[in-house]
C-alpha cells in the first residue's frame, strides 16, 4: 500500500444503468473540498464515445479528468473510466489497459474496487450506485475485508436508484457499512476522510504510554462485552485492526468517542453482533482458514471417496453459500482428489442461499484478484482462467456445483448427504435457530457424514448428534447411533427430542406421569414380548430389549433393514407378513415359525405384524412382536415335533408354496420397478443437465441484454442532455431574432416558407399558418420585382445579393439581403433578411445637404473676404496698414464664426457677440446695457462686423483712443409697424473732438452698407462734438430669412 504524507481516501464510484441520475445526486452531495479523490467506473459501450465526463462536470466544481494511464489520483479531483478500457490502481496511480476481448461479461467495478482495496487498504472507499446486475458486490467485499469503507445507494426509500439490483446485491452481501441515498453520501465520505486523519493521530498517540493504557482498557472492555454476549474471545486479535473495525462501527453509528461507543454496545445487543460480524470479516475469500481446509482436504475428503466407484455419487451441501467462494474452494479440493482416482464418483455440490443476487454472482464464477489471496499459484493455473482483470473458474469446477435459492430454516433440507459445509452462517443465527438448524443438518447427512463449520461456530450442545473429528477446525461427524428423525421436524415447527426413553430411565423422582412411564418402561422391558418397530421400507426405527434371539447383525455394512437382520428361518416370513400388513394395512399373524438359533438349536416362534394406527398412513410404522412357543429345541426335537403334527405340517407346506410363488412375483415386480426407476433416473439426470446448460445460456444472454439496455439508457441520458442544449440554443436564437427585429424569412428551393421571424409581418401579410406556403402567394407591403431572379442568382452563384427596397406605406427603406442557406456544402434554400435602413438613408441625405451648405458658406465667405481685402487695400495708405487692417477684420469675423460654431449655428446672445469685439478695451471703459436678445447667425455675423468697425474706429480715433474715453453700448427690442425691431445705440463719451473727415473710409461704408443691405435696416451716424453717436435698427426677422 502506498503511504502518503497525509492519508486521504480514494473513493471508487461504481454505477451502471440509471447511473447518470445517481451520479448527479452523488456529486451534488459532495462538497468542493471533500478531501477525497474520486474514480468513477461505469459500464460503457466500447464502440461509443462517452459523454460522461461532460455530464459529471456539470454537477461538480471539482476538475473532471478522463482516466489516463499513470495519472495520480489526487484529493478533490474526479477521474472517469473511458470506454473500452479496464482500470486498476497501483501505488495511487491509475492504470488503464485495453481489454483483450470485446465481450461484455467483464465486471469493471469489481476489478477496480478490488485493485483499490489492495492498493489503498483502509484508505479505500467503495460506492455502489444504481445498476442492473451484481457488479460491485465482490469489489465491496474486497474493500471491506481490507478495512475500507463501503457505501451503497439505499433502495428502500422513494429517492432510491432506478435500477436497484446492483446496490441491493451489495447490501445483501452484508459487506456494506452504510446504505444511504446518493445525495447524502458526500457527507459520509467527508466524515470518513476526517476519521482517517483522526485514526492516524489516535495511532500516533497509542505509542505514548499513558494513552496506550486508556486505549487498551477500552479494547479489553469491548472484548469483555462480546465475550459475555456471544462467548467469543477477541483478546488475541491484532490491536490496530481491532480498533479500525471499532472505529468503522463508530462512524456508522455517528459516534465520536470510544466511551460513547462502549455505552452503545452495552445497551444494544444488535450492535454487539454487528461489531462481531465485522471483526470476523477478515478472509471470506477462497480457502478461508487455511488450516481448516487442510483438515478437510487431508482427513475428510479421502474418506468421502473411500470405497466409492464410478457408479456412486458424493453429495455435498453448502447452505448459505453467499457469493460462492466456499463452494468453489470445496469443489477445487474435490477435483484435486479426483485427479488421483481411476474411478471417479459423481460429485454434486448443492450450494444454496436465500439471496438471489449473491447466487447470480456465484453462478458467474468470476472473481477479482483481491479475493484470490489464499489461492496458491498452482491452483490459480489449474482452476482459473485469467480474463481481462478477473479470474474465471474453469468449467470442470463449475460443473459440479449447482446453485439454487433455498432457506435453511423454511425449506425442506437436502438429504443423504456426505458433507455439509456451513461456515460462518450460524453466527448470524440466534440460539433458537441454531437449535433448529443443527438437527436439520444431522437429518440431511447420511450416517457418518461430515459437518464442516466456521471457526467461531460449534455444535457442542448437540454432542448426541455429532462427534468432533477435529475440534479446533470444527470438523464433525454425524453419529450413526443417533435416532433418525424421519422428517425434519423443523418443518412442522417441532423440536426433536431424541433418546427420550433413555433420558426417562435416568430421571428418578419425577412426577406421577413420569413414574407411570417408568413403570410401563420397566414392564415393557421385563415382561413384554420382544418387538421392533419398522417403517414401510422395512428399516427398524425402534428395538425392544431381548431381540437378539430373532435378529442378528449381518455381515457387511451396518444396516437397519429388518430382512437382513432377521435370523435364518425367520427372514422369509417376516418379509411376507410385513408386505401383507403394508398392503392390507391390517394385522397379520404367523405361528409356528422355526427360527434357527445358536448351537444348532431352534425355537418355534409366533409372529405378529400390526400397523400402528397413530402413525400417519404414508409414514405408517409397524409393530412386530416375537412370541416364543415352547422351549428351545434341538433340530431333531423340532423335526419330531413337526412329525407329530402332520396336519399342520401339510398346511404349512401349502402355505410355503403359496408364499414362494408370491415372493417370486414380488421379486419380479420389484426388479421391473427398479429398472424403470433406473431409466427414469437417467432421464432425469440428462434433463437436468440440459436444463442447467439452457440456464447458463439464458443467464449469459440476459447479461448481454442487460448491458445493451444499460448502454441504451446511458446513450438516452446523453441524448436528453443534447436535446436540452438544443432547446436552449433554439430559445437563444428565437430571442435573438425577436430582439434584433430583423425581418428574416427562410425559403427553400421552391420559395416555400420554412420559417420566419415576427418582424416579417411588417413587410408581408404573414401568419404563423403560412409556413409551408410559397412566398409568392403572399401579398406584400413591399414591391419586390425581380425577387425570383435574385433568388435564382443566389442558387446559381452561391453569393449574397443585396439591394435596397422601399416600403410603400411607411416611407421606410430596407436593405434586402439574400443569403444562401447552406446545408453542409449544398445550397438548400435562401435566407431573406430585411434590415431597416431608413434612419441611415435619412442621415446620409442630411449629411449631403450639410456638406453642400458648408461648401456654399465657405465659398461665400471667401468671396466676402476677397471683397473686404479689396476694399481694405483701396483704403490703406501703405502695405503694413493694409495687412494690419485686413488681419483685424478677418480675426473679427473669425470671432463671430467661433461663437456661432459654439452655439451650433442656432442663435447667439447679443451680449456674447459684443463682448469679444470690445474686450481689448477693458470692462471699465465700455458700458453694456440691454435685455437678453437673440440673433440669428446672419444677423450675428453682420452685427459682429459692424461692432468691430465701430470699436476699431473708436480705438484709433475716437473715445477709446484716449485714457479717459468711454463707450456706451445699449440695445433694445420693440414693435415697429407691426414687426419686431431691434435697436442698437453706440455712444462715445470723453473722446477727442470729432471731425467728419476722418470717417469717410471703408469702415463707415461697411457700417452703413451692412446695416442696410445685410440686415435690411437703417443706420444713423451723427458726428456729435462730444463723441460719435451711431444708432442702428433692423427687423428681428430679416426679409430673406
Amino acid at each position: 500500500m502506498a503511504r502518503r504524507e497525509a492519508p486521504f481516501p480514494i473513493v471508487g464510484v461504481g454505477a451502471s444503468a440509471g447511473g447518470v441520475e445517481a451520479l448527479e445526486g452523488f456529486f451534488r452531495g459532495v462538497p468542493e473540498n471533500s478531501g477525497c479523490g474520486f474514480v468513477v467506473v461505469t459500464h460503457l459501450n466500447p464502440e461509443r464515445r462517452s459523454l460522461l465526463p461532460e455530464i459529471v462536470g456539470r454537477y461538480t466544481s471539482m476538475p473532471v479528468h478522463v482516466a489516463a494511464d499513470g495519472a495520480v489520483v489526487a484529493a478533490n479531483e474526479v477521474h472517469i473510466l473511458p470506454p473500452d478500457a479496464i482500470l486498476d490502481i497501483e501505488n495511487g496511480k491509475l492504470r488503464v489497459r485495453k481489454p483483450i476481448s470485446l465481450r461484455r461479461e467483464r465486471k469493471p467495478i469489481d476489478i477496480f474496487f478490488s485493485a483499490l482495496a489492495m492498493d489503498q487498504g483502509e484508505c479505500a472507499a467503495g460506492v455502489v450506485l444504481s445498476g442492473g446486475d451484481g457488479d460491485g458486490t465482490l469489489g465491496v467485499k474486497a474493500i471491506k475485508e481490507r478495512g475500507g469503507l463501503t457505501i451503497a445507494q439505499s433502495t428502500s426509500d422513494s429517492s432510491g436508484p432506478n435500477y436497484p439490483d446492483m446496490p441491493e446485491s451489495a447490501i445483501a452481501s452484508g459487506m456494506v457499512d452504510i446504505a444511504t441515498p446518493a445525495e447524502q453520501m458526500g457527507t459520509r465520505l467527508v466524515e470518513f476522510a476526517a476519521s482517517l486523519l483522526n485514526f492516524e493521530r489516535l495511532m500516533a498517540d497509542e505509542r505514548r504510554d499513558d494513552d496506550d493504557k486508556a486505549l487498551n482498557d477500552a479494547r479489553h472492555e469491548i472484548c469483555a462485552i462480546i465475550r459475555n454476549q456471544l462467548g467469543h474471545d477477541f483478546a488475541g486479535y491484532k490491536g490496530k485492526t481491532f480498533l479500525r473495525r471499532v472505529q468503522r462501527r463508530m462512524q456508522v453509528n455517528h459516534l465520536d468517542s470510544l466511551e460513547a461507543y462502549i455505552e452503545r454496545l452495552r445497551q444494544e445487543p444488535k450492535e454487539v453482533s454487528a461489531l462481531f460480524r465485522d471483526l470476523l470479516i477478515n478472509v471470506t475469500n477462497f480457502f478461508r482458514d487455511a488450516d481448516a481446509f487442510k483438515v478437510l482436504e487431508e482427513q475428510v475428503i479421502p474418506k468421502l471417496f473411500a470405497g466409492r466407484g464410478a457408479e456412486d455419487a458424493i453429495r455435498v451441501w453448502v447452505p448459505g453459500c453467499a457469493t460462492g467462494e466456499e463452494v468453489f474452494s470445496i469443489a477445487i479440493l474435490m477435483q484435486e482428489h479426483m485427479q488421483r482416482l481411476a474411478a471417479k464418483p459423481r460429485v454434486q455440490i448443492f450450494a444454496t442461499d436465500i439471496d438471489d443476487h449473491a447466487l447470480s454472482v456465484a453462478r458467474a464464477g468470476r472473481y477479482p484478484e483481491a479475493l484470490l489471496d489464499s489461492v496458491s499459484e498452482e491452483r490459480r493455473k489449474r482452476f482459473f482462467t485469467y480474463d481481462d482483470g478477473s479470474y474465471l473458474l474453469t468449467k470442470d469446477v463449475r460443473d459440479i456445483c449447482v446453485f439454487s435459492p433455498h432457506s435453511v430454516i423454511r425449506d425442506p433440507p437436502f438429504s443423504r448427504l456426505d458433507l455439509v459445509s456451513c461456515r460462518n452462517l450460524l453466527i448470524y443465527f440466534g440460539a433458537d435457530m441454531q437449535n433448529q438448524v443443527i438437527p436439520t443438518f444431522h437429518y440431511a447427512l447420511k450416517p457418518g457424514g461430515y459437518l464442516f463449520l466456521g471457526t467461531s461456530e460449534n455444535v457442542s450442545q448437540f454432542a448426541d448428534l455429532f462427534t468432533a473429528i477435529d475440534k479446533k477446525n470444527r470438523v464433525f461427524r454425524s453419529r450413526e447411533d443417533a435416532s433418525r428423525v424421519r422428517l425434519p421436524l423443523s418443518v412442522s415447527g417441532f423440536r426433536p427430542a431424541p433418546f427420550t426413553p433413555a433420558r426417562l430411565t435416568g430421571s428418578h423422582g419425577a412426577g406421577p406421569v413420569a413414574l407411570r412411564q417408568s413403570v410401563e418402561g420397566y414392564v415393557l422391558e421385563r415382561f413384554a414380548p420382544a418387538h421392533v418397530v419398522v417403517n414401510r421400507d422395512g428399516d427398524i426405527v425402534f428395538y425392544s430389549a431381548r431381540t437378539g434371539k430373532y435378529l442378528e447383525a449381518a455381515p457387511g455394512a451396518p444396516s437397519r433393514q429388518l430382512s437382513t437382520l432377521a435370523r435364518k428361518g425367520l427372514r422369509l416370513d417376516l418379509r411376507t407378513s410385513l408386505r401383507e400388513a403394508i398392503e392390507t394395512d391390517a394385522r397379520v399373524e404367523r405361528s409356528g415359525i422355526v427360527v434357527e438359533g445358536e448351537d444348532d438349536r431352534v425355537q418355534r416362534v409366533d409372529l405378529v405384524v400390526e400397523p400402528m394406527r397413530d402413525s400417519p398412513p404414508e409414514e405408517r410404522l409397524f409393530l412386530i412382536l416375537f412370541t416364543d412357543v415352547g422351549p428351545m429345541l434341538s433340530r431333531q426335537e423340532a423335526d419330531n415335533a413337526t412329525d407329530r403334527s402332520d396336519e399342520s405340517y401339510v398346511q404349512l407346506e401349502r402355505e410355503l408354496r403359496d408364499t414362494r410363488e408370491r415372493l417370486q412375483s414380488l421379486i419380479e415386480e420389484y426388479e421391473t420397478a427398479l429398472e424403470e426407476l433406473k431409466s427414469s433416473n437417467e432421464e432425469l439426470v440428462s434433463v437436468n443437465e440440459e436444463v442447467q446448460s439452457t440456464n447458463e445460456e439464458l443467464e449469459a444472454s440476459k447479461e448481454e441484454l442487460q448491458s445493451v439496455n444499460e448502454e441504451l439508457h446511458t446513450v438516452n441520458a446523453e441524448l436528453n442532455g443534447k436535446v436540452d442544449q438544443l432547446d436552449r440554443a433554439n430559445l437563444d436564437l428565437t430571442n435573438l431574432f425577436e430582439s434584433t427585429r430583423v425581418a428574416t424569412v427562410f425559403l427553400d428551393r421552391d420559395l416555400v416558407i420554412r420559417s420566419f421571424t415576427p418582424a416579417v409581418s411588417e413587410i408581408f401579410k404573414i401568419r404563423p399558418s403560412d409556413r409551408g406556403r410559397p412566398l409568392t402567394d403572399l401579398a406584400g407591403h413591399v414591391e419586390l420585382p425581380g425577387l425570383q431572379d435574385d433568388i435564382r442568382k443566389v442558387f446559381a452563384t452561391g453569393e449574397t445579393v443585396e439591394r435596397a427596397v422601399d416600403h410603400e406605406s411607411r416611407g421606410a427603406k430596407y436593405l434586402l439581403r439574400l443569403v444562401p442557406y447552406k446545408d453542409s456544402d449544398k445550397i438548400s434554400g435562401v435566407v431573406l433578411t430585411f434590415v431597416d435602413v431608413t434612419t441611415l438613408a435619412n442621415a446620409e441625405a442630411h449629411q449631403q445637404v450639410l456638406i453642400a451648405e458648408l461648401n456654399h458658406r465657405v465659398k461665400n465667405m471667401l468671396a466676402v473676404v476677397i471683397s473686404i481685402a479689396e476694399h481694405t487695400y483701396k483704403d490703406a495708405p501703405d502695405a503694413k496698414a493694409f495687412k494690419d487692417r485686413l488681419v483685424e477684420r478677418i480675426k473679427a469675423m473669425a470671432k463671430s464664426y467661433e461663437l456661432l460654431a459654439r452655439e451650433n449655428w442656432t442663435e447667439t446672445l447679443m451680449r456674447d457677440l459684443v463682448k469679444p469685439q470690445l474686450a481689448p478695451y477693458g470692462p471699465d471703459r465700455v458700458a453694456l446695457n440691454g435685455p437678453q436678445l437673440r440673433l440669428n447667425p446672419k444677423q450675428a455675423l453682420s452685427v459682429g462686423m459692424v461692432l468691430h468697425e465701430l470699436a476699431t474706429n473708436a480705438g484709433k480715433y475716437g473715445a477709446l483712443s484716449q485714457p479717459d474715453g468711454r463707450v456706451e453700448l445699449s440695445w433694445d427690442e420693440h414693435a415697429h409697424n407691426g414687426a419686431q425691431e431691434i435697436q442698437l445705440a453706440w455712444r462715445e463719451i470723453d473722446g477727442p473732438p470729432v471731425s467728419e473727415e476722418r470717417n469717410t473710409g471703408f469702415g463707415l461704408k461697411l457700417i452703413e452698407r451692412e446695416t442696410v443691405r445685410g440686415l435690411g435696416g437703417a443706420c444713423n451716424i451723427r458726428f456729435d462734438p462730444t463723441g460719435l453717436q451711431v444708432s442702428l435698427s433692423f427687423p428681428k426677422e430679416a426679409p430673406n430669412e
Binding site: 456654399h856 461665400n860 466676402v864 476677397i866 471683397s867 446672419k938 430679416a1038 430673406n1040
Partner: protein, 137 residues
C-alpha cells in the same frame, strides 16, 4: 445696345460685399452694373424698370433660390450666368444651358463668359430686330 455705350449687366447677389466686388470687376471689364439686387423681388423690379443686356445670378439668396429671376430673364431673352458656392448643386433642367461659375470668381474667370453672354445677347437681339448680324460686328 448702341455703339459706344457700355453693356448693362444686372447683378443679383445678396451679399453686398460680393456685389461690390462684382461691380468693381464689371467696371474694370468695361460694363455698366445694374443693381445690385439682393432679393428676387428687387431683381424682378429692376428687370421691369431698366434695360439689361445680361445678368450675373447668385443661385442662393439667403434661403431662397434665384430661379424666378432666371425664368424672367429667359422669357425676356436676356442671357445670364449663375454664380454659386455649391460644387455640383443640380440646377433645374431648363437652366442647364446657362453657364455656371464657381464662387469666389476672379476677374479673369469672369471675362470670357461675360463677353460670350453679351455676344449671345447681341445675336438674339439682332435676330429679333432683323438686323444684319455682320453689321453689328
Amino acid at each position: 445696345m448702341s455703339d459706344g455705350a457700355r453693356p448693362r449687366i444686372l447683378i443679383v447677389e445678396d451679399e453686398w460685399l460680393i456685389a461690390d466686388l462684382l461691380e468693381a470687376m464689371l467696371d474694370e471689364l468695361g460694363y455698366d452694373a445694374v443693381g445690385p439686387a439682393s432679393s428676387v423681388q428687387e431683381a424682378l423690379e429692376l428687370i421691369q424698370e431698366q434695360a439689361v443686356d445680361a445678368a450675373l445670378l447668385d443661385v442662393s439668396l439667403g434661403r431662397v433660390r434665384s430661379y424666378p429671376v432666371a425664368e424672367a430673364l429667359m422669357r425676356a431673352g436676356t442671357p445670364f450666368l449663375f454664380l454659386t458656392g455649391y460644387i455640383d448643386g443640380d440646377l433645374p433642367a431648363q437652366f442647364r444651358s446657362a453657364p455656371v461659375l464657381c464662387k469666389p470668381v476672379s476677374l479673369v474667370e469672369l471675362k470670357a463668359p461675360l463677353e460670350q453672354l453679351v455676344l449671345t445677347d447681341a445675336r438674339a437681339r439682332s435676330e429679333k430686330t432683323s438686323t444684319d448680324v455682320s453689321l453689328s460686328r
